[in-house]
Symmetry: C2
Subunit: 252 residues, 2 copies
DNA sequence: CAGCATTAGTATATGCCTGATACTTTATCT
DNA sequence: AGATAAAGTATCAGGCATATACTAATGCTG
């Protein structure tokens, strides 16, 4: 018989329910501080830069002290993910479609500011307060529709997965580019070599694709970000179209 | 002036262009063997089980020998991903919709057999021969449509991303479940606690969701796999609906 | 007011890992 | 018969996560 309001430690830490028992030595450190320090390091050095020694040092403590506030490094990553995600913005939209569109763009904006978020290994269903809040926002947007729960969840996670994937892809490319000046050359070499490897006999469609304007387009005047925006919208609208079909179908 | 048929070493290895120069000591090891051994370990111990010492030992060599055949551990992961993906099956379908559906299920089947594939960190656009072959298959399926390249690529990566995401989510859950008998209890506790944390005032929709039948459904008679299949199809058909709208629009 | 239980943080150590460097071994080519 | 060059090995440095056993600081109890 577990007590009815028992909450596992990781969840307690996720939801900011630190208890600071009156007994014993008082803590000079807390979960919030640890997570904030870790997020700061991730912002500066990327996710691989986050190590327990470095987080501890940035706070003026030893590595082992962190284990008083966090169960493991994996748990720290989960805590970081929810903290860095932050609360969703207020989305007031005339209809579900515009609402989901704004939700997707807001989500994307957060990830673009912290690309390392797209690389945090997901360890289970959303369970942090911010994750739940974003979920709530999406569900609220769809509350006027007649979709059942399974469809709502499906639509939301489809959009969210799409956002993560597209931001990750773009940021990887950008990182590669920033990694030295000669990187641009290397990248061009890489593309050129790949185009040569894609034999038109074995891969007719792919070969046509690789030699299409899409990959030639040399010094396009439009900035990369604009292209990325267009690509992103393209896929997003496709998803929204699919959802629209479902909604129309559920109304009959 | 780089030679016009210069191919970067990682790409050469990906495409099986090992050169075995006639000079010097002949190699008793090659990229293929290394990758195969690594894949075998990943199949048994998961992606975290793959370390250079273990791969080398399973071949009867020392860790450092691997660096003669593979640039880095990250590169090894890339090679593993393409090797383990394997070639796509022949997909003969009457129309693009059935074709893409089969393509998605085939992709999913591969990932289900090797769940660690969904956790290999992606390091750039598809560039291995098998990845290209899968891409070719998808493009061929859509070749009858009037979609432009951007839409085709968008549709394909949307589906592929969805497949990866859904398999990863399911396999995580299954792993957690297999990780000891008490895990099921812990999981139930977790869900229960979470349901209590989701305050209906702050999160009205989410709270209703958490207390809906979707989460109660105790010992459902239908096996997990069947439920997963249904969920998967749900999202997939949604995507296909979206693509259908695009295709219809591009025909006008 | 003394000391005890309790909690926070530290010191130290183990066993891993990736990868650099310098070496030995084994083959071909001249 | 060497010279040459590549394959594989030995050793090592620098990091990392984390277990265990410690010291330090506080409130509670007598």
């Amino acid at each position: 018989m577990t007590s009815d309001d028992f909450v596992p430690a990781p969840l307690r830490r996720l939801w900011g329910m630190s208890e600071s028992s009156r007994l014993g030595r008082p803590a000079s450190l807390d979960v919030k501080a640890v997570v904030a320090a870790a997020v700061g390091i991730a912002d500066r050095d990327g996710l691989d830069g986050v190590t327990l020694p470095k987080v501890a040092k940035s706070l003026g403590f030893t590595s082992m002290s962190l284990y008083r506030h966090v169960g493991s490094k994996d748990e720290l990553l989960t805590l970081m993910a929810d903290a860095a995600l932050g609360p969703p913005p207020d989305i007031a939209a005339p209809d579900w479609r515009e609402g989901l569109r704004r939700w997707a763009f807001a989500h994307r904006a957060v990830l673009q500011r912290r690309p390392w978020l797209t690389r945090v290994p997901v360890a289970g269903p959303p369970s942090g307060p911010h994750q739940i809040a974003w979920m709530e926002a999406a569900l609220a947007i769809m509350s006027g529709t007649l979709l059942d729960w399974a469809h709502k969840i499906g639509a939301m996670s489809l959009i969210s997965g799409y956002v993560v994937q597209s931001v990750r892809q773009f940021s990887e490319l950008a990182e590669g580019r920033a990694e030295g000046q000669g990187q641009a050359d290397a990248e061009r070499d890489y593309g050129r070599a790949l185009a040569r490897l894609v034999n038109p006999d074995r891969f007719p469609e792919a070969a046509r694709l690789f030699s299409s304007t899409l990959f030639e387009a040399p010094p396009s005047t439009t900035p990369d970000a604009a292209i990325a925006d267009a690509d992103f919208s393209l896929g997003l609208e496709l998803i929204l179209d699919g959802i629209a079909v479902r909604i129309a179908r559920s109304n009959t």
